[in-house]
Amino acid sequence: MKLGRGMRLPVIEAYGLVKSYGSTVALRGLNLVINEGEIYGLLGPNGAGKTTTLKILVSLLKPDRGHVRIMGIDLHRYRVEALRNVGYVPEDPYIFPNLVVREFLEFIGRLRGIPRDILKERIERYLSIFDLQEKERDLIKTLSRGMLQKLAVISAFLPRPRVLIMDEPMSNMDPEAQHVFKEEVRKLVRNGSTALISSHMLDMVERFCTRVGIINKGVLIAEGEVDELKRRALGGEDATLEEVFLAVVRGG
């Protein structure tokens, strides 16, 4: 694909996604395109379809209609190949309770084919920066929710994926871990990765994400850089993202 100067390759492409749970329609023809090197914040009220969207992007749910491409690879037809580029953090991570922390990370590393020496080095580093070194021999079922969250995030970072898809990745994390998380995401993005983050932490999204999308009732109702959204929604850049969010969601 030839791109013009300054244009970026689309990394996540979702077109016309429709998903229903019985009589409840979660997504109504959602389109989402996220380009290389972006930290994209996906916002929306409860039940708007954020988690459903993210689950479809990692093939945990199948859309009733529409299709998804990750790094240009059709997710439905070449799922395994497409997902080799992805690191995923679910909303409420449940991790093999009977493995110890190190075993789990080694397990993930080997599933992703990370060479042994690099894997060991990365595990040491992530356990250290997320302050989990002392827990490396602990059974996962004994970890607190915050620690589980850190572990899920480490497992997503471990293969240094081209695409990070994360659902509320900082929930239950202490402030220091949140800081480390943001620094690591920035570092990965600088090295060519792209991040899609779903969150309710508007302050964080405002300062951290390069582009924001607001989803409501299963469709993307607003999208753009934070300042651009402020201008479009409230006519000025003095407003906060919270005000923009409320104006957009309430305004339909």
Binding site: K55, S59, R79, V86, P90, N98, L99, L139, K141, L143
Partner: protein, 535 residues
């Protein structure tokens, strides 16, 4: 009393209401009832095969209905004393909704305590005790009792469960009150003395002393009486006194609960609860996935380490040989005292009971099987988002189910060692294996279906069998499904067992079909994996 029942009703709705709304409850209740028909029918059609034999043998050992009733009375009484001896002064609950919502309402603590005891007594038959409900008519068939005993047995059994729950709660409340006045230690000593005296006097007199069985006697004698060929003297009085005892304990519990503090109720945080029991794994016990290259080995090692830490392999290593050794010892001692020489009754009975034990063992293990799949499915996001092939996931889940399920045939075969008949031992093993393989797709489907829906909580599958089942309507649904299907196949298994015994070469046919079932089971799991969606 009305408010107690109201509290019980709210609790009941909190736990089972949501799946009642799915309109599946009624269908499943009917299914559960229908599913027991093959089991009961096969026993009835056999004309009480083996039942008389066991009675004769038991009587030879001096075990009659009086002793059985006395022992049951003792165990029921023990339910009252257990919290006292253990110093358990708290009612532990797992539902955060129950703890934070219900307890913050204007409800008196005594209303809550009594309501919860009633709720426990009502819920128990719906969950774990369904197994007993399925097999409750068996004594009627074995002893050729009139059929009208069956509904009476059900009623008595419900009374027994309610009474057991009331006794247990009364024990907790008394311990709590003792703690409030700083007399808990003295109370524990009293409890320990009761237990010691009960055992000592029991051993010395070869009977269960009256003071040891006092609390449980009315209901215990009612149940045993209904299961006996002839009633106890004054059986009408026993029936009346059992109803009176339940009412009396209910009244006492209500009065005692007025003095307790709301702190009697504590919420079990699943995490901390487990954190107390577990810790670090020794360096030597850690699996080095980083050193592995082959994907098959990586995935299989993960399953093996999982089962090892659930102590599944300990059952293979110690449980099965232990049961086989005990069976051999019983046989040896039985031969010494002439138990098996003159009469083939016990042998016949054992031959008959073997497959039933197999089913009961399997149902117990089934919870573990489903739980192990649920655990894998809750972690399905790890496999899928890391690009693991669906067929590989299906294979490891099949291996996991097989390794857990094979405990049932091995245990059954180990028990059948008693017969010293290679054909009977082999038949038990092959037939129960067949049964396990037949059930694997059912277990797999159930685990997959609900593992992707059940709300995430960091609990081990072992707990699904206890508090977690009571807490989660979806798991109750699973348990009912498992029991219903297991019951439905049980009759088939028993018929197959007798068929194999009478036509021995059939053992090879069943073994052959079992191999086919392995292939079919894995294919079904593969198809299931392709359709998995994590909601």
């Amino acid at each position: 009393m009305r408010r107690d029942i109201l509290v019980a009703g709210i609790l009941f709705k909190n736990y089972v209401g949501s799946f009642r709304e799915q309109r599946k409850l009624l269908a499943f209740q009917i299914f559960v009832v229908v599913s027991q028909i093959p089991v009961v029918l096969s026993v009835f059609l056999s004309g009480g095969h083996g039942g008389a034999g066991i009675l004769d043998v038991l009587e030879r050992f001096g075990v009659d209905k009086y002793l059985i009733a006395a022992l049951l009375s003792f165990f029921l009484s023990l339910l009252f004393w257990i919290p006292i001896i253990r110093g358990q002064s708290r009612i532990r609950i797992m539902s955060a909704a129950e703890y934070s919502f219900l307890l913050s309402q204007p409800i008196e603590v005594d209303e809550y305590v009594v309501g919860r005891a009633i709720f426990g007594g009502v819920l128990a038959p719906l969950v774990g005790a369904v197994i007993l409900f399925i097999y409750l008519p068996l004594p009627v068939a074995l002893l050729n009792l009139p059929l009208w005993r069956i509904p009476l047995l059900y009623a008595a059994f419900i009374l027994l469960l309610l009474y057991a729950m009331l006794l247990y709660y009364t024990g907790i409340v008394i311990t709590h009150l003792a703690e409030l006045v700083g007399r808990k230690r003295i109370l524990r000593i009293v409890g320990a003395l009761w237990l010691m005296l009960s055992v000592e006097v029991g051993v010395l007199t070869s009977s269960v002393p009256v003071f040891a069985q006092l609390l449980g006697a009315p209901v215990a004698y009612l149940i045993v009486g209904l299961m006996s060929r002839s009633f106890f003297p004054f059986f009408g009085l026993i029936a009346l006194s059992s109803v009176f005892s339940v009412s009396l304990v209910l009244f006492i519990l209500r009065r005692l609960s007025r003095g307790v503090s709301p702190e009697i109720v504590t919420l079990i945080g699943a995490g901390p609860h487990l954190r107390d029991k577990t810790g670090k794994v020794e360096e030597a016990g850690i699996v080095r996935f980083a050193e592995m290259v082959d994907m098959n080995r990586i995935l299989t090692s993960k399953i093996f380490i999982d089962l090892k830490r659930y102590k599944i392999f300990a059952i293979y290593k110690y449980g099965v040989p232990l049961v086989a050794t005990v069976s051999l010892l019983v046989r040896f001692l039985g031969d010494l005292v002439g138990l098996f020489g003159g009469s083939g009754d016990l042998y016949e009975f054992w031959e008959f009971m073997g497959p039933i034990f197999g089913i009961v063992i399997f149902i117990t293990i089934a919870a573990l099987m489903v739980g192990s799949v649920i655990d894998e499915m809750k972690c399905f996001w790890i496999y899928r988002s890391n690009g693991v092939n669906d067929n590989d996931i299906a294979r490891i889940i099949f291996v996991k189910l097989l390794l857990v399920g094979m405990i049932a045939p091995l245990m059954t075969a180990a028990m059948m060692v008693l017969t010293l008949d290679p054909l009977v031992i082999a038949a038990a093993f092959v037939v129960v294996t067949f049964y396990v393989l037949l059930m694997i797709p059912v277990m797999g489907w159930t685990g997959v279906r609900w593992g992707t829906r059940v709300k995430v909580s960091p609990l081990s599958p072992v707990l699904y069998y206890t508090e977690e089942v009571q807490r989660d309507p979806a798991l109750q649904f699973i348990m009912m499904l498992v029991m219903a299907v297991a019951g439905a196949f049980a009759g088939l298994q028993m018929l197959l067992f007798f068929l194999v015994i009478s036509i021995p070469y059939l053992i090879f046919v069943v073994a052959g079909i079992s191999v086919l079932l392995v292939v079919i089971g894995e294919r079904i799991l593969r198809a299931l994996m392709r359709r998995v969606e994590m909601r």
